[in-house]
């Protein structure tokens, strides 16, 4: 059973379609990154995923059950780190832990204390007095303390500095190493996602424009550039499915999505380089933006 399955998820706000027939599945043990520009529909998707919003049509299954109708029962097995850390400002992390322990069957109170110590966050400071980064770290500690089968992180490193971001990733890596928890995260940190996620989906204008394993994704995309004098060579890349073509100084370059070394025409003097996830993301979402409505 896939811990997360979205089936034709559609969300409409009046005339605006925020999610358009989104279907995807997160396999057990995967670290799954959902990427998308602001306004792509990520927030609507996460709200539906956590049973906070009823989809206009379609459904979200968490651990095999419809999350909208069985929210309370399911969420005790899911750890959630919301985009906006939210807790009563006067409550300390220790009191939050005690409060949450009654809601989760397998609560690991000692684990929280150890994590907060590693983060350098005092368990006795009121939540409202913590920095944004520290609030996020408290949220992550609470989410992990429930020993969840599935962890949902909504942009967990947004607004964190490099040190705090590294600490969050280290905690996440420790959790993955110890328990192999399935992780679903949305993020703007593409460099971080590239290293930790094994599967990735890109949402653009409410649709999934790309969904696959990180490894195959990185294998099929390449940047191919030619000297300006060989502009016509770009036309010969058609079979490699170019998604973006740009002229840069004395070069013309194309990003292709079905790279195949055999099909390059050597006489065109192509220069081939690999792309980072960020570069692939820009090529894919940029192209979708141009052809969109």
């Amino acid at each position: 059973m896939n811990p997360i399955a979205l089936e034709g998820l559609t969300v409409r706000y009046g005339a605006r379609l925020a999610l358009d027939q989104v279907s995807l599945a997160v396999p057990e043990g995967a670290v799954y990154a959902l990427l998308g520009r602001n306004g792509a529909g990520k927030s609507s998707l996460v709200r539906c995923l956590l049973g906070e919003q009823k989809p206009t049509s379609g459904r979200a299954l968490l651990l095999g059950r419809d999350v909208w109708s069985e929210r309370a029962a399911i969420l005790s097995e899911v750890g959630v780190v919301p985009e906006e850390p939210d807790a009563p400002p006067s409550m300390t992390a220790r009191r939050l832990s005690r409060f949450c322990s009654r809601l989760y069957p397998r609560w690991d109170a000692a684990g929280i204390e150890a994590r907060l110590k590693r983060f350098g966050v005092s368990p006795d400071t009121p939540f409202g007095k913590l920095s944004k980064g520290q609030k996020g770290q408290v949220m992550l500690s609470l989410a992990l303390a429930g020993t969840p089968r599935l962890l949902v992180l909504d942009d967990p490193t947004l607004g964190l500095d490099a040190v705090a971001r590294k600490a969050v990733f280290e905690e996440l890596i420790g959790e993955l190493a110890d328990r192999g928890t399935t992780v679903f995260l949305t993020t703007h940190d593409l460099a971080g996602a590239e290293r930790i996620a094994d599967r990735v989906a890109v949402l653009s204008q409410g649709r999934v424009v790309l969904e696959e394993e990180m490894e195959t994704l990185k294998q099929r995309f390449r940047r191919i550039s030619f000297p300006n004098s060989r502009k016509e060579a770009v036309a010969r890349l058609e079979t490699l499915a170019p998604v973006a073509v740009a002229s840069r100084g004395w070069e013309v370059e194309a990003v292709v999505s079905r790279y195949d070394e055999e099909r390059l025409v050597r006489e065109d003097e192509p220069e081939v380089s690999a792309l980072t996830l960020e570069e692939i993301f820009i090529a894919v979402t940029g192209a979708a933006g141009e052809t969109g409505p």
């Binding site: 890596i173 290293r195 294998q219 380089s273």
Partner: protein
């Protein structure tokens, strides 16, 4: 070991392959001697900030290839006598030669010119050094 290993997101090789080849390289040049302890999957994953499953895959392949050995309860070590990386060595020679040949062709060099340039480069590197360049 971690500072010696680098992950490059602009590298076309998958991360597990970069780790696998990185470790092989460290073993081959003696930076990781036989019997040396390698970091646990968890520690290396944290150091490199990558998914532990990725490190685990690299370690598994290195173990299968006889480069690393796992001693239950003790950890993972560089194998006492790493196998001669013959196949890999041939692959690498071939790859590097192909790269040089393609550069030479791109620059419009003749075969003779490329060979003599290579000959000169070889001599400049080996002149004065002992001839023991076997490995």
């Amino acid at each position: 070991m971690a500072p010696l290993l680098r992950i490059d997101s602009r590298d076309a090789r998958p991360i597990w392959r970069q780790i696998e080849e990185g470790v092989q390289h460290l073993v081959a040049r003696g930076a990781l001697p036989a019997g040396a302890v390698v970091p646990s999957v968890r520690d290396l994953a944290r150091d490199l900030q990558v998914n532990p499953a990725t490190v685990s895959k690299a370690y598994q392949r290195l173990t299968d290839a006889g480069v690393l050995t796992v001693r239950r309860g003790e950890g993972t070590f560089v194998a006492a006598a790493p196998p001669p990386p013959e196949a890999r060595r041939e692959d690498r020679l071939h790859d590097e030669a192909a790269r040089y040949a393609s550069v030479a062709i791109t620059l419009g060099a003749t075969r003779e010119e490329a060979l003599s340039t290579f000959e000169t480069a070889w001599r400049s590197l080996t002149d004065g050094a002992a001839e023991g360049e076997a490995g």
